[in-house]
Amino acid sequence: MGDQQFFLKWNDFQTNMVTSFRHLRDEKSFTDVTLACEGQTCKAHKMVLSACSPYFKSLLEENPSKHPIIILKDVSYLHLQAILEFMYAGEVNVSQEQLPAFLKTAARLKVKGLAEPPPQMPSIKREG
């Protein structure tokens, strides 16, 4: 009786996490890092950045700060937003003409799923 374990699983866990993070980001709640490029800024969570990009992970680890501001060189704001969207939602729509530059940027930032050499290439669907 005492050693019997119950397996509790929330089937919607991942969905919930994604939704929640997205929500937090939209609300700018608990954001603890500011990304800046092209004169614009957006706020994000270190945790998410670190989870989705070894580049950000090491950057943030090396510079422990309550709320660092990261100024990204040669990154277009559009792409940055798309990348964040991808990090938070796992998907994003990018126009075809932007795609190469976007992927290049993602590669520079080592965004998991976009940059890593193809073990698991994200499926690129054509929309619109």
Binding site: G39, H67, I71
Partner: protein, 494 residues
């Protein structure tokens, strides 16, 4: 006097404030004091800096830092090399930096991204990418359109609100009394060398001019001491604080150009011709003209027609009249003088301050057909003085007499108040200023000096301004050493 006196606002101005602030900031970053952000670039190189300075120098930083409430924030700037950031920081703190040719493109690129003012400007790209050294002069005056040179923009115009009637009156009236004191000052405080005391007080623009080391102005103070008028204790102190640099500039705010300009012109004109300040480029001249009173104008003209420009736009901030004449105007005027027209005529024809024109002409070695009379002899100034002032001042004999008579002034002032006529006020201010300027210096207009020949008096003045300027210790009673003052200021800001 009345309550209006008590409300009069004084502008305590230290001409070296900006310079000192900048120096202090630079010193502070060197010792990393009060720094509130860390910039991290490649290879984990960190720079400590002041957010204020970053924001001040870059709208980009300004927007980034605006909503970062942290005590100390880190700015990570991957991809930027140490030398790039070092150069930019130095530029932001001092306004200049020496870089090697090879580094320029990279630095400029970063500067562009960070929107560092002067190196990058969205509206005005005045930069010369090739130059290895950038000075503030090269920086686009983004905020201050009218600062072609490194001279910082004139103090905010907003500090001269349209003067309420009463204070203006009192100020004007006061100034009549101030001269004797000023005189005393000159002799007693050796340090207060030059007449620009007045000029500084009055001429807003020039006071900021870096070429003018002097700034102690004892405007209000003077009458405080010398007359029964009113006591403003706080203003009293700084007056004594004549530091060697003469950092303080007193000026009753309300005096602004109206009351002050004639003052300025008059008391200083003798020195103008020979003071270092007259050696100005066109650009500078233009800048001076920014302030209606700054171009040294012939007194004669002031009283007569020259008054006119001052009267109507009384409430306008000085800078509005900055562009009263263009370079081509003055060139044309010079040409006319060259061709035989008198400087005065030419100045009128082209709307160029006669004094400025005269100086130009003089510098060019052109002899004028009729040297402008400097002043003692005045022509009927009727138009300029409403309320009967003109009548009294009209004859050549002793025009000032009526003006300097206090009761007369008082009367006119009252009249002005009653009618609320601005022109009257202005005239009064003028009269008072004229009185102030004239009284102390020369025995009442006994002998008309010829205009440009430096009267002995003039040499004396120049002496004061040039050679004595730094030689003397501050008069006793220095209250606020400028340095510390600046330090305080900056630290408070950080």
């Amino acid at each position: 006097m009345g309550s209006s006196e008590g409300q009069q606002t004084f502008c305590l101005k230290w001409n070296h404030h900006k310079t000192n602030l900048v120096e202090i900031l630079d010193a502070l970053i060197k010792v990393e004091t009060y720094v509130d952000c860390t910039i991290v670039v490649d290879d984990q190189v960190t720079f400590k800096a002041h957010r204020v300075v970053l924001a001040a120098n870059s709208p980009y930083f300004q927007s980034i830092l605006a909503d970062v409430p942290m005590d100390h924030c880190s700015i990570l700037f991957p991809g930027v090399k140490e030398f790039e950031m070092r150069a930019l920081l130095e530029y932001m703190y001092t306004g200049e930096v020496n870089v090697t040719q090879a580094h320029i493109p990279r630095i400029m690129k970063v500067a562009e991204q960070l929107e560092v003012k002067g190196l990058f400007d969205m509206t005005e790209l005045r930069r010369r990418p090739g130059s290895t050294e950038r000075t503030p002069a090269a920086s686009p005056p983004r905020v201050v359109p009218a600062a072609p040179s490194s001279i910082s923009p004139p103090a905010p115009i907003t500090r001269w609100p349209p003067p309420p009637t009463a204070p203006l009156l009192s100020a004007a009236y006061d100034s009549a009394d101030m001269n004797p004191l000023k005189r005393k000052k000159l002799s007693s405080m050796l340090a207060t060398r030059d007449t620009p005391i007045l000029r500084n007080v009055l001429a807003q623009t020039t006071s900021v001019d870096s070429s003018q080391p002097i700034s102690l102005v004892c405007h209000p103070i003077n009458h405080n001491e010398s007359t029964r008028l009113h006591s403003n204790d706080s203003t009293h102190e700084p007056e004594r604080a004549g530091s060697p640099q003469r950092p303080f500039d007193y000026r009753p705010r309300r005096l602004s150009s109206r009351a002050s300009s004639p003052h300025y012109n008059r008391s200083d004109r003798s020195e103008d011709a020979h003071s270092p300040y007259t050696e100005r480029s066109f650009e500078e001249d233009t800048q001076r003209s920014f302030h209606p009173s700054s171009p040294p104008t012939n007194f004669q003209q002031d009283v007569r027609g020259g008054l006119a420009p001052y009267v109507p736009p009384q409430q306008k901030p000085e800078w509005k009249r900055y562009k009263q004449y263009t370079r081509s105007d003055i060139m044309s005027a010079i040409e006319c003088v060259r061709n035989g027209m008198s400087a005065l005529q030419a100045s009128r024809k082209y709307g160029v301050p006669s004094r400025t024109l005269y100086d130009k002409v003089k510098k060019l070695g052109i002899t004028t057909s009729r040297p402008m009379s400097r002043g003692v002899k005045r022509e009927p100034n009727g138009a300029a003085f409403p309320y009967g002032l003109s009548g009294t001042g009209g004859d050549d004999g002793n025009p000032t007499t009526p003006l300097i008579d206090p009761s007369f002034l008082q009367q006119a002032l009252e009249g002005a108040t009653r009618d609320g006529g601005r022109e009257a006020l202005h005239a009064m201010a003028l009269a008072a200023a004229a009185h102030a300027a004239l009284t102390p210096r020369t025995p009442p207009r006994s002998s008309p000096h010829s205009p440009r020949t430096p009267p002995p008096d003039e040499d004396h003045v120049e002496d004061l301004s040039v050679s004595r300027r730094r030689d003397h210790d501050p008069p006793a009673g220095v209250i606020v050493p400028p340095r510390n003052f600046a330090l305080d200021c900056s630290s408070e800001r950080d």
